[in-house]
Amino acid sequence: MKVLRFILKKEFRQIFRDKTILAMMLVMPTVQLIILPLAMNFDVKNVNVAVVDNDHSTLSQQLINKVGASGYFRIITASPSFHEALGYIEREQADVVLEIPPGFERNLVREGAQHVGVSIDAINGTKAALGGSYLLNVIADYNQHIRLNERGKYVPGKGVNIDITYSNWYNPLAEYRFYVVPAVMVLLLTLIAGFLSALNIVREKEMGTIEQINVTPIKKWQFILGKLIPFWVVGLVVFTLALMVARVVYGIWPVGSFALLYLFAAVYLVAMLGFGLLVSTYTDNQLQAMFVAFFFVMIFMLMSGLFTAVDSMPRWAQGIAALTPVTHFVKVVRMIVLKGSGFADVQKELLYLVVFAIVLNSWAIWNYRKTS
């Protein structure tokens, strides 16, 4: 225990000595948390429409006005030909081309039906799906509208109406900040714990100081614990900073128990630090360590449900997601912060994280060799 105290003293001194690293650990996450959620908005607000009106009739004009007035669309141009309108899509200035054929009004009145062309840039799936369905809704609505005009009155009693009410719990306006702020908090904690610890031991390897350590009677667990604890403390400080930023900037304050939240953060940090240390025991230099850590962190970041729903991924990918600690932690953070879930609701996730923490750290200690 006494030896551990000396090791800790040394590690803390080294952390506080390097002001650049210290700033990177504390300032960078805070700044990123302040500004990034503002940029993370999945909302599809404006779908840009290029209109090709080959009819120039009253009805076609009405339809175009209706689309423009619906609130979802911005009509960016009226092109004389489909070819020209397509140019706007090619230059990413338009998302949809609405093409009204010649004789639109005449055919509609004579035959009662008329096609219009809706061409959607389908590379961006979300926008295509939403833009498409909005446009179809507007057209359907317009159908209703011209029926009313023609008949002059609506026939009551014949049509039925399902009145849909909906409510979004925990986030009535379905605002994205409630979704991304916890995600960014988790992400920053992951980056700090994973990257810094991964670089640490490997740096001693590169500088040759590990040799001097290996020739001393330091126990392996003492050495690993000495590396782990300082970053663990830094991690909890960053987490606290992050909670404050979330409160001040985004007005998000945990609904659930703080003790529970910190318990999870503490266990999660141990797991991620163990991951970083494990990486550093397997690599020879900082570049390697960084690449390996980067590889896993990217997978953690993109597959753990931070920004995309795990449920929508293929089965095998969900399996991979379950094997990353981040998946469980971000789930729990959202549950505690937004929904106020209690211990009973999250105990299974705690178990997962504890297992991750134990496995990763034991593996790191096992793989750290004082004698080669």
């Binding site: 570049l287 980067f294 879930s341």
Partner: protein, 368 residues
Amino acid sequence: MKQLLVFIRKEFFHVFRDKRTLLIMFGLPVVQIVLFGFALTSEVKNITLTVIDQARDVNATQIINKIKSSSYFIVDESAVNYDEVTTAFKKGTAKCALIFPTGFGNDLQHAGQAQVQILTDGSDPNMAKTVVNYLTAILTAYQQEISPGTQLPYRIIPEQRMLYNEEGNGSLNFIPGVMALVLMLVCTALTSVAVVREKELGTMEILLVSPFKPLLVLLAKAVPYLVLSLANFTLILLLAVFVLDVDVKGSILLLFLVSTLFIIACLSIGLMISNTTNSQQTALLLSMMGMMIPTLIFTGFMFPLENMPWIFQWISYVVPSRWYFLIIKAVMLKGLGFSYIWKETLVLLGMTVVALAVALKNFKIRLS
């Protein structure tokens, strides 16, 4: 010129001697592209919908069957009351619920008006909105179906065409995005340690006293990585085509040319970092930890750029991968020619020049 070749050879030896780093460099981006190409999708599907059917009549059952037959939802009818839904929401086992009140069908048939309630877990707003949209569409369709006089006198029938992506491949947008993201981060990190490593190991002095011009030193450092990154890009492209089924619609030559430019731009940024930092640790933390999230966000494949406050849109202009993402989308997926991407190409070129100039300037300062 001969000097330069000698120097480049030395750098090649450096890079190729470290087999492990080489393996990691090649292996990681490849695995990532394949993994993300398959797994990432913006679609919301397979959502478990908790249905509480207090009505238990023909209309409710018909609607439930319609929902079941859509590919979006997995219907769970095990919950019987509101309280159970509340608990399930807190546990995270349910994310949305549809409630038919008692007498739903009766109201619908006799009063022509009935209510349903949708509950969603707003902690995932994307899911919440999509669920409301999907369910509204299904309910509206059902409502029209059972309404008498559905045949309207006038009908405007939209004909939808999905451009560039007829099959509706939900991950198509992510493939060029992930390519840009991974290439950018990897290339920047590679050169970010190139110079600072020599500073740390003390071999920099030797370079400084040698008669090589600073520009040559920097070039020589970058060339092996350029070759490697191009090989890497080729591999990624092959994977995209043969494993992820991406159809390359445009000119392969053009794709390679602009990708080379993009890689050079990223390598130059790495050199700039390397020349302005003092330790590998700082350089790596900057190029990977510092750039990872901003690159992810400002490339624009995950979060739509036009939604961002103008200041972020401005920031996004200095992120090379944002331009590259536009370029490969245009060339690879839309099959467009150079006339559509010359602006983006010019921006990348400008960035390369600026980064190299800054790198060179800092390198020179160390000389004196």
